[in-house]
């Protein structure tokens, strides 16, 4: 929470610059600020995934990072994973996905992220919250010395973001801010 506080303040300032009343649309300026916050959370997730997947990470540390990573998500979020060979989607709760990632049977794992992302428009859902999708690409490399395996893939990750206006009390004053939570993630293996 603490690390996002400067972003909240920024969002607050941007919010207060526009009309205070709840509006149906998000202005381009506010959208840009929300995009930055969403991207920050996606960056954190990408970092956590790389740490959880790495064989150099201690078990206790990986568990701590998994807790942090889980905090980025709205309750009940799932990962839907498919590969090139099958159209079947395997569904995992976020925690289960992280645990599977940690347990992968490689001696060395390197997870890195391409220098590209795409952020959709924000759409309002029936309950008034806004929803968007951030797309990123991940490269996975796993080496198993005993079996002489060298596995590599690139996956596209379409990450749901929920954007909600919340309020908090600071020194007796109510401050409104826009919060971003991650939701379901669709993981697709790419052929490139």
């Amino acid at each position: 929470m603490k690390k996002y506080f400067p972003s909240f303040i920024l969002m607050f300032l941007l919010t207060s610059a526009v009309a205070v009343a709840q509006s149906n649309d998000i202005s381009p300026q506010r959208k840009q600020a929300i995009d930055s916050l969403a991207l920050e959370k996606v960056k954190d997730l990408s970092k956590y995934i790389s740490i959880i997947g790495s064989k150099e990470t201690q078990f206790s540390e990986a568990n701590r990072v998994m807790d942090r990573a889980e905090e980025l998500f709205a309750p009940g979020a799932e990962m839907g994973v498919s590969s090139i060979n099958t159209k079947e989607v395997a569904y995992y709760k976020v925690r289960r996905y992280f645990e599977r990632l940690m347990a992968l049977n490689y001696d060395r794992v390197n997870i890195s992220w391409y220098d590209i992302h795409y952020i959709s428009d924000l759409e309002r859902q029936p309950d008034g919250r806004f929803v968007g999708v951030v797309t990123v690409y991940q490269r996975f490399e796993g080496t198993s010395q005993e079996a002489g395996l060298n596995y590599r893939d690139t996956t596209k990750k379409d990450i749901t973001i929920y954007v909600e206006r919340k309020s908090t009390q600071v020194a007796g004053r109510t401050i409104e801010f826009w919060d971003v939570m991650l939701g379901d993630i669709r993981v697709t293996e790419t052929t490139s």
């Binding site: 970092k47 790389s50 790495s54 590209i116 797309t135 990123v136 379409d158």
Partner: protein
């Protein structure tokens, strides 16, 4: 000695960087342009079709931006929004479509909320012990404070055999004076005829969606998977196109137009009938 210290520092720094390579961290792989070229989301298809973002997708254009919906940009985008590798859309037809949508006097744009486009979702459900394909036709509708996707129709092959009404002399009927006998012939109609649909009006159409929901509630359908997805667009006057996802090597990938039809009067119904009945 200095060399050793330098080496130790290098080793320490590499230990710190190796495990935690997040998005936009040092040493990340660079896109060679393929991911940038790919139409990564349906949302991006809309934006590119209307020229509402920059060529690299990094900047969203709004109505006060000079490039917003620029004809030149639209031309560039529309060229890359077709599946140019596997679909057999004729070049002339494609050209005619592009000329029509970027027409200076009456340009045509796509609108996410305007309707006249819907999703065809291929799914599998466990039904009577077997994994069966179920097609869900879904549309976007306003609800509460925003929008939601809803199931408008269902296609399910095994349902069809239950509604196979005979025609002509084979068709069973209740004769026109049945009412004088208090419809006593209904007993024979229901107990001795396996096709009760014979006694429905000519324009009767079974509602598979209701049937499907009923079967789900009864526990007869168990969801398994989503196996495929495409979209059908009727939003551009006199045109129909299909949008499908292409996951393959190269630059012509992502959400692309996979089928294009110029519609004459009455064609829309025929295309819709084909879409709904093909599975």
């Amino acid at each position: 000695m200095r060399k050793t210290i330098l080496l130790v520092l290098l080793v320490i720094s590499s230990i710190q960087f190796a495990p935690g390579q997040g998005l936009y961290s040092p040493g990340q792989p660079a896109d060679d342009g393929r991911f940038a070229a790919s139409t990564k989301q349906v949302n991006q298809f809309f934006r590119r079709f209307n020229a509402e973002e920059s060529q690299d997708g990094k900047k969203r254009y709004y109505s006060n931006d000079a490039e917003y919906r620029s004809t030149d940009l639209r031309k560039k985008f529309l060229d890359i929004l077709f599946d140019n590798e596997t679909s057999s859309i004729e070049a002339e037809l494609k050209k005619e479509f592009v000329v029509d949508v970027i027409n200076e006097e009456q340009p045509k744009y796509l609108d996410f909320h305007q309707g006249e486009w819907f999703a065809e979702v291929q799914t599998t459900f466990k039904y009577q012990g077997k994994s069966e394909n179920v097609t869900l036709f879904m549309k976007l509708q306003p609800e509460g404070l925003g929008y939601e996707w809803v199931i408008e129709r269902v296609g399910f092959e095994p349902f069809k055999k239950y509604f196979d009404k005979d025609t002509g002399s084979k068709k069973q009927f209740l004769h026109p004076l049945s009412h004088e006998l208090d419809f006593m012939n209904l007993r024979r109609a229901f107990q001795e005829n396996p096709k009760p649909e014979s006694y429905t009006p000519t324009d009767y159409e079974p509602d598979y969606l209701t049937l499907f929901l009923y079967e789900i509630k009864k526990g007869h359908f168990k969801f398994e998977n989503v196996t495929d997805l495409k979209f059908h667009f009727f939003q551009i006057d006199n045109w129909y196109f299909e949008l499908a996802q292409f996951n393959r090597p190269g630059f012509n990938t992502g959400w692309l137009i996979s089928n294009l039809v110029k519609l004459q009067e009455g064609d829309e119904d025929a295309v819709l009938k084909y879409i709904y009945d093909q599975k």
